[in-house]
């Protein structure tokens, strides 16, 4: 049974999540991938205001395909997360509580999640047309020049994801693979 959660995330919501939990996310989340992360980080280091409030925020690592006429967004599955690892710890320090992507994270990210109380979710990579149905509104709020890499504010309803890494060190990838590995 999937847990229904609301974004932005509260500290209590994050505390309740464990690796392996299926969740349905509703509320406001933000898109950001490689170049957007670099710009967000550069802004933070320069003491500038960010295009959205990081407190409790969830960032979805996605560069959607363009919306067809009459649609709010195109296909919108997750991109591989490790490319954001260089930037994620600073964002968590400044309030980020949720990350949605796919694939394994590195130790500094896992350490920062424990320290700051954050959670890493995976969405199903390549199920991009299916996921798009849970996105009800989308607007570019920053870095329009980056095209697919621009930061978008998304309104989502029952966006399906699974907790990979919780704030207690739980790791679904490690546990899942260990269970099915032979030899």
């Amino acid at each position: 049974m999937a847990k229904k959660i609301t974004a932005p995330l509260t500290a209590e919501t994050v505390k309740d999540l464990r690796a392996g939990d299926s969740v349905l996310i509703s509320g406001t989340i933000y898109t950001g991938r490689d170049l957007a992360h670099k710009r967000l980080t550069d802004s933070l280091k320069a003491g500038e205001k960010l295009p959205f409030d990081l407190a409790g925020a969830v960032i979805y690592y996605v560069g959607p395909s363009p919306a067809k006429p009459g649609k709010v967004i195109g296909s919108a599955g997750p991109t591989t997360s490790y490319r954001m690892d260089a930037y994620s710890p600073l964002l968590m320090e400044k309030g980020l509580r949720g990350m949605v992507g796919k694939g394994n994270r590195t130790q500094p990210v896992l350490d920062a999640m424990k320290k700051h109380g954050a959670v890493y979710f995976a969405a199903v990579g390549g199920a991009a047309a299916l996921i798009a149905r849970t996105i009800k509104a989308a607007k570019v709020i920053a870095y329009d020049d980056l095209g697919p890499e621009a930061v978008r504010e998304l309104q989502v309803e029952d966006f399906p994801a699974i907790v990979i890494n919780d704030m207690y060190g739980g790791d679904l990838y490690e546990a899942g693979v260990a269970k099915y590995r032979k030899e």
Partner: protein, 280 residues
């Protein structure tokens, strides 16, 4: 001499880009269904079912299967008796890719320079591999290739003394190190032999093969079978959450080799194994 119109090629390439990105091949769909029969992990089964649902939505709405609509890798076999009327072949292909990615609402994922990273905004340039062949036809294949799985690919210069087991260890280890990143279940393309760059091209080209097809050389057919079994013992499973179905297929292409070398390339493809062909 058969004349093929520039606009015919351009329009055909545009259509191939759109169809390849929105219509997953029957062989891949069948491989998901076959995977459901052997997958033991509940999460893994759930993911395979989601991929089947996703394929249906994409087909019905002509939406991309994956938002990463890829590099347009274009393979061309041009008959020596064919010529292009009204322009150059490469221009027709590049303009066709730009048209397809615009008209099909496909994502533009190419940057002008690897370090300065400004988007070209029309997904060009395509990567074109063209060959001159006998006859007067023009066969074009568009293979959109996603970045996430490309990142998990590698070329290694082995020695002849490493033998078949050296190749197998490298392939299995490359998949093992990729873990959840390349969107498993993957298709593993393996190139063996040739030069440094030739073996990478062999690996990429092998990904065009139909899932379920058997290598014509029994030696490599056996190696593909063994590699698929070994890869699927890794336990990575669909999306890396643990399970039986880590790969849907392993494809090998081998080529003659220099006496001093034995290069091997592994090109990983995500489950969105997309390609469409046309003969003009």
């Amino acid at each position: 001499m058969k004349e093929i119109q520039f606009e015919t090629i351009k329009d055909a390439v545009a259509k191939l880009c759109i169809d390849a990105n929105c219509l997953l091949g029957d062989d891949v769909v069948q491989a998901f269904k076959d995977g459901l029969k052997i997958e033991e992990s509940p999460a893994g089964k759930d993911i395979l079912n989601q991929l089947l649902d996703n394929e249906q939505i994409a087909r019905k709405e002509m939406m991309p299967i994956c938002q990463d609509t890829g590099w347009a890798v274009v393979w061309v076999e041009m008959g020596s008796g064919a010529r292009v009327q009204g322009g150059e072949l490469y221009d027709a292909i590049q303009q066709g890719v730009a048209k397809g990615y615009k008209d099909g609402y496909l994502r533009k994922s190419i940057v002008k320079d690897p370090l300065r990273r400004e988007n070209t905004k029309d997904n060009t340039p395509a990567i074109i591999y063209a060959d001159i062949v006998p006859g007067d036809g023009l066969e074009i294949t568009v293979q959109p290739k996603g970045g996430g799985s490309e990142n998990m690919s590698e070329v290694k210069m082995l020695s002849a003394s490493d033998g078949a087991e050296g190749i197998k260890k490298f392939v299995v280890d490359r998949v093992a190190r990729s873990k959840a990143n390349p969107c498993p279940p993957v298709i593993v393309g393996v190139g063996i032999g040739g030069t440094f760059e030739k073996c990478a091209m062999l690996a990429k080209h092998s990904l065009l093969r139909e899932i379920g097809s058997v290598h014509p050389d029994p030696f490599y057919a056996e190696m593909e079978k063994e590699l698929l079994e070994r890869v699927n013992k890794l336990g990575i499973g669909p999306q890396g959450l643990g399970g039986r179905v880590t790969a849907l297929a392993v494809f090998i292409e081998a080529f003659p080799c220099h006496i001093a070398t034995m290069p091997c390339a592994v090109n990983i493809n995500c489950h969105a194994a997309r390609h469409q062909s046309v003969t003009l």
